[in-house]
């Protein structure tokens, strides 16, 4: 393949350079019915799973058909979505924060053909390309991170785990029979690019072994003081050790670090600062399940998800234990929660002792907080409990 220049001249990088122009202004991309009624919407209704109608003061209506996407999408699939938008929506579409695609039309009669078109498109293996759903008191798309596809610190795959969970719960994406919306999120390590810590259910990639120290490389690849400072539990200290030089065979003393394994909680922050401290390990890595968080201020205040399963191994390719656990969580919630009750509000109402009973999950010592001073506030300081 021959290099084809865009016009950029590497010898004169500043020539014609355009910088700091920011994004395109959103108003260029608003469908006319949206643009005309901006700030003048009266109310909305979900007509059926995946289909919303918004009513404007002007009397205008916009119908939105929402469908799922795997987030990781090639241009082929994206172009197919664009075709659909051209065919049905005058060339407009939008994406949601949770990686759904929304196709909007300005009259009701355009909804069914659009919906039929979307639902009809499938990959060869049988999966939908654009499943309609993700609205109301149901399951919407799982937000997630990169996982083994593109990240250097993941403890699990993101796309794979999400696919498995969405397959398991797929019906719920196209239904609205939950007590309230259920937001599942997946992050492939504690860095949580996806900030999953306030989700109804969070799936979190998670290491369980302290870093391997690549003594030969620490000095070359890392600033040792930064690696030491990176540890939130002060488990790392500077050290020296003797290694055998690969080429010469000679013994030499090198600067490196030492790690107190019993103080390590596997956050991987040292690895972020120092590539000579890899954590990944087939047996050590896996998933934590957290539950009961939310970001909305509705009825109760936003809250963090709590760790309810300390470890699920990376059972590639279809993570059956993960799928089973998600099913247990969702079934218990659907069975027990009241209308409008979010997952965490339900768990708190019935009490965590009841939560572990009805979900069938095991309560282990790992679930008791022991991280710093605030841990105390999660212990039970009352005699009020259920037998």
């Amino acid at each position: 393949m021959a290099f084809i220049s865009s016009g950029y001249n590497p010898d004169k990088p500043m020539e014609d350079r355009i910088t700091d122009i920011g994004p395109r202004h959103y108003s260029e991309f608003l469908p006319p019915v949206i643009k005309n009624n901006k700030g003048k919407w009266l109310w909305h209704e979900i007509l059926e799973p995946g289909v919303l109608m918004h009513k404007a003061e002007s009397g205008d209506e916009v119908y939105t058909v929402r469908c799922g996407s795997p987030r990781l999408m090639g241009t082929e699939t994206l172009r197919e979505a664009l075709e659909i938008a051209d065919k049905h929506c005058d060339g407009y579409l939008r994406f949601t924060t949770r990686n759904n695609i929304e196709f909007m039309v300005d009259s009701k009669d355009k909804v069914q053909p659009l919906k039929d078109d979307l639902q009809s498109r499938k990959h060869e293996g049988g999966s939908y390309k654009f499943p309609v759903g993700g609205t109301g008191a149901g399951l919407t798309n799982i937000v997630h991170t990169q996982g083994w596809i593109h990240c250097h610190t993941p403890a699990s795959d993101a796309s794979g785990t999400v696919k498995v969970v969405m397959d398991e719960l797929f019906e719920e994406f196209q239904q609205m029979r939950f007590p309230a919306q259920l937001r599942i999120s997946m992050a492939c390590c504690l860095n949580m690019c996806g900030a999953v810590h306030c989700s109804d259910i969070a799936i979190l990639g998670y290491h369980r072994k302290p870093p391997i120290i690549d003594h030969k490389e620490v000095e070359n690849l890392c600033e040792i003081p930064l690696a030491v400072a990176a540890c939130p539990t002060a488990a790392i200290r500077p050290a020296k050790t003797t290694i055998t030089d690969d080429r010469t065979g000679e013994e030499k003393t090198v600067k490196t670090v030492a790690i107190k394994n019993e103080r390590c909680m596997f956050c991987g922050n040292c690895y972020t600062m120092c590539p000579a401290l890899p954590l990944t390990d087939a047996e050590g890595d896996g998933l934590v399940i957290m539950a009961g968080g939310k970001v909305s201020n509705r009825i109760s205040e936003p809250k963090f998800s709590k760790v309810v399963v300390a470890f699920i191994p990376n059972e590639t390719p279809r993570w059956p234990s993960l799928a089973k656990c998600m099913r247990q969580l969702v079934d218990a919630y659907v069975k027990g929660a009241k209308k409008y009750e979010r997952f965490g509000d339900w768990a708190e109402r019935i009490g965590w002792e009841r939560f572990f009973e009805v979900t069938g999950l095991e309560f282990t010592h790992h679930l008791i907080d022991d991280f710093r001073d605030p841990a105390y506030y999660t212990w039970r300081q009352t005699t009020n409990f259920k037998f």
């Binding site: 979900i46 999408m73 699939t77 407009y92 939008r94 999966s127 250097h152 810590h197 963090f304 390719p317």
Partner: protein, 437 residues
């Protein structure tokens, strides 16, 4: 015929949910097919090799990407994430596999011609793989080589009038909910404020000068669809300070079962007839609502605007007219010091077109954080370390009980010397004159 056997990944093609494996294979096939049409500027088999590498991870259950080196475009310190494979011999197509972040338009609306232009560019100079969108909000272009970075940037800026987003210790690409564009609950124009702040702080977005990453997110109302309160160093969340507007006829229609509650969100199950007492009034966290003579009454002074009643009866109840936003600070994920939700700093602020009020708060906070924040310390951690009082001090905001969920329960107050009559310096001899040894 695929380049690599992927028996494990193949098992992810079945099932109803859109298969990313099917998508990758489709993309790989398309590149093979079009290699005579398009003079691909990065390896044709980039996606094949990605599949092969991912299969290896599925077999070994370990990641095969190395730490990214520092790559980027001239003059910017963000927007590109370097990525290299640790098995480049086996998978040369992904030896380099850098990501570029493209600053999405606020609200993520698109015209097809724009995205098609982006597809063309990315097919030509990249892997053709995207995230629509990344967690922070950007369009993520996944996988290209170092020589292509400047080319792509040149085409983006010259042909598409489009800039990169943020990464590293920068302002990260701001994001907003769709706000007034299609939501009756938006208390301010989230898209416009997002755009304005993005433009105002282009320098901070592109040139790392911060202790660590910094995120703005703009939510139009307390429902928080863009999750700003969980993940933005500064969250701008719409609210109002006058009364909820009530349409009593619509209330009656809800009570009478003529309109489905919660915008029809519960239609998939028979929850029985709508019961306004049970479903709205009893669930109100402040218990400030009641029915009287068939009319719904709200003691708005006691309302905390949690949105539940409005969510349940969108045709009967509407947000107030005196609108503005609250600013919360410090939200972050667990790394390093534990997760934080945003803490309320500005209970209410009107949004005017100068945006001076918003900018003043932002800049006061940055001045402090850039001075005092440690390396890789998020704003929330600096707040925790120096105290909420310090945040008030640097922003010139008066302490208010709205800043706390409850006052301190420890009496360990750090009095300042100037607050205590007589100061801290005392003479032991004077003391001993009253208190002999």
């Amino acid at each position: 015929m695929p380049k690599h056997e992927t028996p494990l990944l193949d098992q992810l093609e079945s099932g109803a949910w859109p298969s990313f494996v099917a998508d990758l294979k489709r993309q790989a096939g398309s590149r093979q097919q079009k290699q005579n049409e398009i003079e691909f500027q990065i390896p044709v088999d980039v996606v094949d090799d990605l599949l092969g590498l991912l299969e290896l991870s599925y077999v070994e259950k370990e990641v095969h990407w190395k730490h990214g080196g520092i790559v980027g475009v001239f003059g910017y310190g963000g927007g590109v994430i370097g990525r290299y494979c640790d098995q480049p011999e086996k998978f040369p197509g992904v030896a380099h596999f850098h990501t570029m972040r493209v600053n999405q338009p606020a609200g993520k609306y698109y015209k097809t011609d724009y995205l098609r232009q982006l597809c063309d560019l990315w097919d030509f100079r990249g892997s053709g793989l995207t995230n629509m969108h990344g967690s922070t909000g950007d369009i993520v272009l996944l996988g290209t080589t170092t020589p292509q970075l400047e080319e792509i940037f040149y085409e983006l800026t010259h042909k598409m009038d489009q800039d990169l987003g943020g990464s590293g210790s920068n302002l990260r690409t701001p994001a907003a909910c769709l706000g007034e564009s299609r939501c009756e609950w938006a208390c301010y124009d989230t898209q416009e404020l997002c755009y304005q702040m993005t433009m105002e702080y282009q320098d901070e977005l592109h040139r790392p000068a911060f202790p660590y990453k910094f995120k703005f997110k703009f939510d139009g109302c307390p429902n928080g669809c863009v999750a700003s309160i969980a993940r933005a160093d500064m969250s701008f969340i719409g609210t109002w300070r006058d009364d909820i507007r009530i349409d009593q006829e619509a209330v009656a229609a809800y009570v009478g079962g003529e309109i489905k509650p919660n915008g029809g969100a519960h239609a998939g199950k028979d929850w029985g007839p709508f019961d306004i007492q049970k479903e709205v009034i009893d669930l109100c966290p402040t218990k400030c609502m009641w029915m009287e003579g068939g009319k719904l009454n709200i003691n708005d002074r006691e309302c905390t605007r949690c949105m539940h009643c409005i969510n349940v009866m969108p045709r009967a109840l509407r947000i107030g007219n005196d609108r503005g936003l609250s600013i919360l600070c410090g939200a972050k994920a667990p790394i390093l010091d534990g997760a934080q939700l945003g803490s309320l700093l500005v209970p209410f602020m009107k949004v005017d077109e100068s945006y001076d009020g918003v900018k003043e708060v932002i800049e006061n906070i940055w001045d402090w954080w850039m001075e005092e924040g440690k390396n890789r310390e998020r704003l929330g951690e600096t707040m925790k370390r120096q105290g909420f009082q310090k945040l008030l001090e640097v922003t010139g905001i008066d302490p208010d009980p709205r800043h706390v969920s409850e006052p301190r329960h420890n009496p360990y107050i750090f009095w300042k010397e100037e607050e205590v009559p007589g100061g801290f310096e005392r003479d032991i001899n004077d003391y001993r004159s009253r208190h002999p040894k």
